[in-house]
Structure formats: structure tokens, C-alpha cells
Amino acid sequence: MAVIFIVLPVALVVVLAAVIAWVWAARSGQFDDTDTPAIRPLIEDDEARPKH
């Protein structure tokens, strides 16, 4: 069971990574609009090509 002394800190590091990811996501506005992004890919742009 002594492995727990190593595994637990490793698990906490993983949690820390997840928390950092969350903080980044919240601060960069990923949760500002939770409705629209989900439907953006619903319609394909088959003909739409910007003209340059």
C-alpha cells in the first residue's frame, strides 16, 4: 500500500492540471456563450468560399 504515498501526489498534480485548464477556459471566455457554439457546425459550408 505504500504506493499510495506516490500515487496520491501524482493524482493531485493531474487535478492541478485540470484546475489550471478550467481557470484558463473560464478566463478566456469559453463559458460566456454556452448555446451558440454547439450549433455552429450544424450547417456545412459546401458552397461558401470567400472570394479573394
Binding site: M1, I43, E47
Partner: protein
């Protein structure tokens, strides 16, 4: 295009390829066919940009596009730029536009492809839930009005979004709250995992080295939650102590500090319970509860702000080259503006040309439109009802009378007494009792075993933690605000709901609140055939009463009238179906016809304008015009009185009219007051303020200061912008019935809150008893705390508050 043209075109030609309307006969035959040049242009633009798929989208089937066809030239004005447009770091301009009519995935697809159709537009991003598009463009290559015209041809009419700055601030607050919740949640879950290990170790036996390890891990992981996510509670508790008004944050801060300190000490000494899982869970649950409440309130605030966006604030500026639209903010004294029928005056000034009638309802509360002509002084916020007039602007913006009233509104809002929330009212007593009990526990036990006594005292502080108590209000309010919004009642703050839960004094404005706020036909005595003759004549007039007749009988067939003569200030004469018909005021008709039945002599209701109709020299009918009382007003007021509310009527209209309407709705003469200026209304509310909850219900600029000063201000459907902004509750559904639903729903919400508080107090009494007896094992605390919170969550969720009204729109 008239209805007859439409009917003729419908069966033969295919509908317009862009908007789906029938194509008029003259334009039919083209392939594809269009109903107008605007639609052809829109179709061409979409095809050139490679967006022809738009016409095949499934959501578009059966939908008709209704472009307004406006030029949106005010979008390019300097004043507009200054107010709404931001310049980004990369040199592009950016603006937030509220788009009417966005509702589905196709709308997102189409709106976000604006850059393909309008070269120079860099990007458009649509927030579908709120209907707000963020548009970025290169000012050197295109204009905002070009993009606006494109969106308009697709049927998404753009408006500048006024709440932009406030919305940005709220978004930053939201992000900060989410960061705190995420951290607190991650910590709570991991500390609880460690706690599960400790509890199961306690039940089945565990190597002390592991136990010590898990305790240290718990301490190290919990510490950050106190220094970061829990900071708002400590800050709140400090400011509460500084201002000597105890509220919920104080017991929360005490429980957090006591639990953490004891947990840390017990970890160092390696003896006794550590409580850290409870501390971490408490921070997370409370943050989540408060966030949910602010989210619900925010949704209501957002909805009212979107309604602001819909009220146009443009002016038609008269220049030598012609008339063009500019933002109302661009007006300066001396400029001449044109105000057409139905438009609101953009500034204070003097009429230079034209004669019409002005509806002062929103500004003064007067119900009848007032005739105006050249030389008359007119004010911003009034509405032109009649012919177009031209006005020389004297004051604009903040300097107008409306602007001055709005400054008073701000001052009034600052004087308002805050609502004392049930939970906060309890917090003071709660803190005192808990601290006294803890001291008692310690003092009683210190003689025998000082360390054990301290443990029990701390256990009491932790176990009586007001988690459920603090959650009861936000959760109940969150659920209630959400349900209210679905019933068309927008509640901007939980305090308002708690205040409305107990009956108090309800002060109602008359014009636009109890009445419909516009002149219409309210009574008619006479034969059916006479109605058609009246319509035939009135078709030749633009007088507001003529419109009243047309609106009252929209479906009657209208015969032709000949030899129509109009007399200003009198009435109309003419021949209809071979008979001589006169419609007009009592004096006008009385001088031209006899009155055998006595129509003219009948007493008139004060505030109503009688109109007589004579056929072949004899008065044959009488119509009454006035501002009709809302249909549901009498029943709603009776129900409110039955619920214990004291009602008062406070109107800016003529005292006689106010008295007559009040008497009809069951107000005692002492409860009605007419002729009240905005200042009088404010003074009246202040004089009532000492006696419990005062609710002001209104719709106009003249009510705004009173609404801001009242405990709760309620704005009704169709109200002025100033009133939307000050109202704590806005009734988005027409009629007074929602007002009754609001008081019922608020009373029920208060009951749900109290039930939650009662549950948590019972739990606390039990917990305190166990702690004083030294029986609280950390496992007992760990089970009791979530159990009590869960009870409160379920109470709030299942509680009956507002009834949903399906499809109220």
C-alpha cells in the same frame, strides 16, 4: 402594395424568390421572380457571396422575411461611433448589435457569414440565446450601415445594444465566479475522497501512518480554498462587522475559520477530528448557490436590456439637402428635426411647422393627446399622434426635461432603504446564540477536561455551520426567478421577491398602468348602419379619433363617401350612400342637426370625449373616446385587496379623470390622487416609506423617481425606457394580471425560503445539542451537513412558486 394586388397576384405567379411574399402582377414572369428591388438585391448578394444554400435551409421553409428597408445612415454618424463603437488593437472597429428575429441554427450560419457578402466586414459572431452579434469591420473598406442593411434584408433588423458596457462587466464577474467555483469544487471533491479513506479507516482499522498522511493531504489541499475561493465570504463578513449590520457572511466566516483552524491544529497534534472535508464542501456549495442566483437575476436583467435596445433613439434631421436620420445623441440646440406620426420627440424644443396632437402620457400621465401648433413648446419623450411636425431643438440629451427627471431618479434610488432578507435578519441572532452556546460548552467542560471542552465547543461551531441556512434563500430565489421569467415576469433581484411576499402598500399609476394609455373608442350608442357611414367619412381624415374609429371596427365594409368637407376643430361632413352624414364634436354637430333622442344632452364621463353622428339632419349616434381601463384591472385589484394589500392611485392626469377611474375600480376618494407631478409622486412614496413595504407600479418617465425610491418598483408592459431601467420587476406580459401573479408567486417563494430556513434550524438545534453533549463524531457531522443541504435544495426545487404561463408571447 395593397391587399387587392396581393390577392390578384397570389394564385398565378410563384412567390418572391427571396422573401416568399406574392409577386405583384407587373413584376411576375421573371425567373426567378421578385416582389421588389430590395429582394432582388438581397438575392443577388447572397448568390454572389456563395450563400445560395440559405434558400434550401430546412428552417426557412414557410418563413417570411420582413426587411424594414431602412438605410441605417445613423449607424455611420460620429455620435453613434462615439457611443457604441470600439476600436480594437488591430485597427478594426467593433460593435455589439442586437438582432431581431434570430432563433435557430440557420440564423447563426447566415449572420456569421456577413463577411462574405459585405467586403470589409472582418467577422460577425452571434450569441444566439441573447440575439447579440459582435461585428468587426475595417472602417477604411466599408461602413457599418452597409452591414446593417445586409442584415436587415435578411430579416434581422439590427439595433445598437445599449447594455454593452454593463454586460461586459457582468461577464467578467461571471468568469471570476466560475474560476472560484471550479477551484473550490476540485478541492472539495479531492478532500472528500481523502475523508472517505479516513472514515473507512476509522471503521475497519488503518495504519496510523496512512491516517496521518491523509490528514496532511487534506490540510494541504484545503488551505488554498480558504485563501482564494472563500475570500468573498471573509470580505463580506468584515464589511458587515464594520457597518454593524450582521448578515449571513458572518456565521459562514466563523464556521470556516473555526473548522479550518481546529482542523489544522488537530493535524499538527495528530489527534482529534479534522473537519476539513466539511469546510471545503461548504465553500463550494455556497459559491455554487450564489452563482446560480446571480445567473437567474442576470437573465432577467438581460431581457429588459434587450427591450431597451428596441426603442429607437434616432432623429430625422432637416438639412438643406434633405432629411436624414442621425442618432438622437447627435442633436444640438438650433437644429431642426422632423417628427412623424407615432414617433417620439428626440429633444425639447419649439414647433416651427405643422400642427398635430402630442401624447404626453409617458411624461406627465395625461391621458388625452394635446393639440399643438407652431410656436408651442414641446418636450422629449412625448409621442406625435397625427401629422408630421418640425421642431427647432432647444435642449437635447441630459439637458432635456426627461434628463432632469432621470437625475432625480438616481438621487431617489440612493435614498432607498434596503430590503432586509429573512436569512440576514436571522443571521444576527444566529451568530449570538451559536457563540453563546460555544462559550457555555467550553466553560462548563473546562473545569474537568479543558482540551475536550475546547474540542466540543469547536465541534459546535462547525456543526452549526449555516450551510443550509445560507443556501435556502439563493436556491428558492433562483428557482422562482426562472419560473417567473417563463410567465413573462422579469425579476431583477431576489430582494424584490422577499419584499413582495408580505402585503404592504401598492401605489398604482393610472395612465398606461391601470388604463391602456391610448385613446380609443370606449362606448357607442347607435345603429349598425351608422357605423359604416362614420367609417366612410373618417377614411378621409388623419385625426387621432378617425384612427380610433378605424381600429375599433377593422372588419366592417366601408362604402364610398362623396363631397367630404373637413372643419378643423369641428368635424367632418359628406354624402354616404345618398345620405348626408355629419361626424364631430357636440358643438359642431349641434349647430347643424336636431337632436330628437337627446344624444347630445346625455352626461359625459369625465375624461371621455363625446363624438356625435348626425344622419340627414338628426343626431343618430354617439361615440365616446377615452383611455379605457384595462380589462383585467377591476378583477386584479379586487384580488389584491383580498390578499391584504392597501391600494392607492397616484396619477399625473387631471384629478377629475383620476377620481372617475379610481371610483370605477373601487378606490375610496382618499385613496386617489390626481395632478401629481413626478416630484409629488416621489414625495408621496417618501411619506409612505415609514410604514412597511411600498410598491410603486408605473409605466412612465414621471413614475421613475417614485419607483426608484419605493421598496420595490414594478414596471408594466409598454412602459418608457426610464421605467424599464429603474424597475426591480418588469411585467413583460400585457395587462395587470401578472401583477397579481407576482404577489402570489412572491408570497409562495417567501414560504419556500422560510421552510428551508426552518429545516436548517431544526438541523442546527439537533447538531448543537449533540455537540454540547460531546457526541458529535466527525462522521456524524459529515453526514448531517450534506443531508441538511440536500433537504434545502429539494425544498427549493419542489416548492410551488410561480405558475408557468404557456406561450404568453
Amino acid at each position: 402594395m395593397s391587399a387587392a394586388d396581393l390577392a390578384a397576384a397570389a394564385p398565378a405567379a410563384p412567390p418572391c424568390a427571396h422573401c416568399g411574399l406574392p409577386v405583384p402582377a407587373g413584376l411576375a414572369g421573371g425567373e426567378p421572380a421578385f416582389c421588389c428591388g430590395g429582394c432582388r438585391a438581397a438575392w443577388d448578394v447572397l448568390h454572389d457571396a456563395g450563400l445560395a444554400r440559405y434558400y434550401e435551409l430546412p428552417e426557412r421553409a414557410g418563413m417570411r422575411v420582413a426587411p424594414s428597408g431602412r438605410a441605417f445612415e445613423e449607424f455611420d454618424h460620429d455620435a453613434f461611433r462615439r457611443l457604441w463603437v470600439r476600436t480594437r488593437a488591430d485597427g478594426l472597429s467593433e460593435v455589439d448589435l442586437y438582432l431581431e428575429g434570430v432563433h435557430c441554427a440557420s440564423c447563426v450560419w447566415l449572420v456569421e457569414r456577413t463577411p462574405l457578402a459585405v467586403p470589409g466586414v472582418a467577422s460577425t459572431e452571434l450569441d444566439l440565446a441573447r440575439g447579440i452579434a459582435r461585428l468587426a469591420w475595417d472602417p477604411a473598406r466599408t461602413t457599418l450601415s452597409a452591414a446593417a442593411r445586409f442584415l436587415d434584408t435578411l430579416g434581422y433588423r439590427p439595433h445598437p445594444f445599449r447594455g454593452g458596457r454593463a454586460a461586459q462587466l457582468r461577464r467578467l464577474e461571471d468568469r471570476a465566479a466560475l474560476v472560484r467555483i471550479g477551484i473550490a469544487g476540485a478541492i472539495a471533491i479531492n478532500v472528500m475522497l481523502a475523508a472517505v479513506a479516513l472514515y473507512s479507516g476509522w471503521l475497519s482499522g488503518m495504519d496510523p501512518a496512512f491516517a496521518r498522511y491523509f490528514r496532511w493531504v487534506s490540510l494541504v489541499v484545503t488551505a488554498p480554498t480558504l485563501v482564494w475561493p472563500a475570500r468573498p465570504f471573509f470580505r463580506g463578513a468584515l464589511s458587515s462587522l464594520r457597518t454593524r449590520t450582521l448578515h449571513m457572511d458572518v456565521p459562514i466566516a466563523i464556521a470556516l475559520l473555526a473548522g479550518f483552524t481546529r482542523g489544522a491544529v488537530n493535524t499538527f497534534t495528530d489527534h482529534g477530528p479534522i473537519y476539513l472535508d466539511g469546510v471545503a464542501a461548504l465553500v463550494f456549495l455556497l459559491l455554487a448557490g450564489r452563482f446560480l442566483q446571480s445567473r437567474a437575476q442576470r437573465a432577467a436583467i438581460d431581457s429588459t436590456e434587450l427591450m431597451h435596445a428596441l426603442s429607437p433613439r434616432t432623429a430625422r434631421l432637416v438639412e438643406p439637402e434633405g432629411v436624414r436620420e442621425v442618432p438622437a445623441e447627435a442633436l444640438a440646440p438650433g437644429m431642426i428635426v422632423e417628427v412623424r406620426d407615432g414617433e417620439m420627440l428626440p429633444g425639447d424644443g419649439v414647433v416651427t411647422e405643422g400642427g398635430s396632437r402630442l401624447d404626453n402620457g409617458l411624461l406627465t400621465g395625461e391621458s388625452a393627446p394635446v393639440p399643438i401648433g407652431p410656436g408651442d413648446v414641446v418636450f422629449a419623450g412625448t409621442v406625435n399622434r397625427g401629422a408630421a411636425i418640425r421642431v427647432r431643438i432647444g435642449q437635447s440629451g441630459e439637458a432635456t426635461r426627461v434628463g432632469q427627471i432621470l437625475r432625480e431618479v438616481e438621487a431617489a434610488a440612493a435614498r432607498r432603504a434596503p430590503v432586509v432578507r429573512s436569512a440576514d435578519a436571522l443571521a444576527g441572532g444566529f451568530v449570538a446564540v451559536v457563540l453563546a452556546l460555544a462559550a457555555l460548552t467550553w466553560w462548563r467542560g473546562s473545569a474537568t477536561d479543558a482540551s475536550r471542552a475546547l474540542d466540543n465547543a469547536i465541534a459546535l461551531l462547525v456543526v452549526t455551520c449555516p450551510c443550509a441556512l445560507a443556501l435556502a434563500t439563493p436556491l428558492a430565489v433562483t428557482v422562482a426567478i426562472g419560473r417567473a421569467a417563463r410567465a413573462g415576469i422579469l425579476v431583477k433581484g431576489g430582494d424584490a421577491l422577499e419584499a413582495l411576499g408580505r402585503p404592504g402598500t401598492l401605489v398604482l399609476d393610472k395612465t398606461g398602468t391601470l388604463t391602456e394609455g391610448r385613446t380609443r373608442l370606449v362606448a357607442w350608442r347607435g345603429a349598425e348602419a351608422t357605423r359604416r357611414a362614420v367609417l366612410a367619412l373618417e377614411r378621409h381624415s388623419s385625426h387621432p379619433l378617425a384612427r380610433g374609429f378605424r381600429e375599433a371596427w377593422p372588419d366592417l365594409p366601408v362604402p364610398d363617401a362623396a363631397d367630404v368637407v373637413s372643419t378643423t376643430g369641428g368635424g367632418l361632413e359628406g354624402r354616404v350612400e345618398g345620405r348626408h352624414v355629419i361626424v364631430g364634436s357636440r358643438a359642431f354637430v349641434g349647430a347643424r342637426a336636431t337632436d330628437p333622442v337627446g344624444f347630445a344632452a346625455a352626461a359625459a364621463d369625465p375624461g371621455w370625449t363625446p363624438v356625435l353622428v348626425a344622419v340627414d339632419g338628426e343626431v343618430a349616434a354617439r361615440a365616446e373616446f377615452g383611455d379605457a381601463v384595462r380589462r383585467d384591472a377591476a378583477a386584479t385589484l379586487a384580488a389584491l385587496r383580498a390578499r391584504g394589500w392597501r391600494l392607492r392611485l397616484l396619477s399625473g392626469d387631471d384629478p377629475v379623470v383620476a377620481g372617475a377611474v379610481g371610483a370605477r375600480l373601487g378606490f375610496a376618494p382618499g385613496e386617489c390622487r390626481g395632478g401629481a407631478s413626478p416630484e409629488d409622486k416621489l414625495a408621496e412614496i417618501e411619506s409612505l416609506a415609514g410604514r412597511g413595504c411600498v410598491v410603486m407600479v408605473g409605466d412612465g418617465v414621471n413614475d421613475a423617481a417614485a419607483m426608484a425610491r419605493a421598496t420595490v418598483g414594478v414596471g408594466v408592459h409598454g412602459g418608457a425606457e426610464a421605467c424599464l431601467a429603474t424597475a426591480d420587476v418588469f411585467l413583460a406580459r400585457a395587462g395587470l394580471q401578472p401583477l397579481l401573479e407576482l404577489t402570489i408567486g412572491a408570497a409562495r417563494t417567501l414560504r419556500v425560503i422560510r421552510r428551508g430556513i426552518a429545516f436548517s434550524i431544526v438541523y442546527n438545534v439537533v447538531g448543537a445539542g449533540l455537540a454540547m453533549a460531546g457526541l458529535v463524531h466527525p462522521l456524524v457531522a459529515a453526514i448531517m451537513m450534506p443531508a441538511s443541504s440536500l433537504t434545502v435544495v429539494l425544498t427549493a426545487w419542489r416548492g410551488r412558486t410561480f405558475e408557468e404561463v404557456p406561450r404568453w408571447r
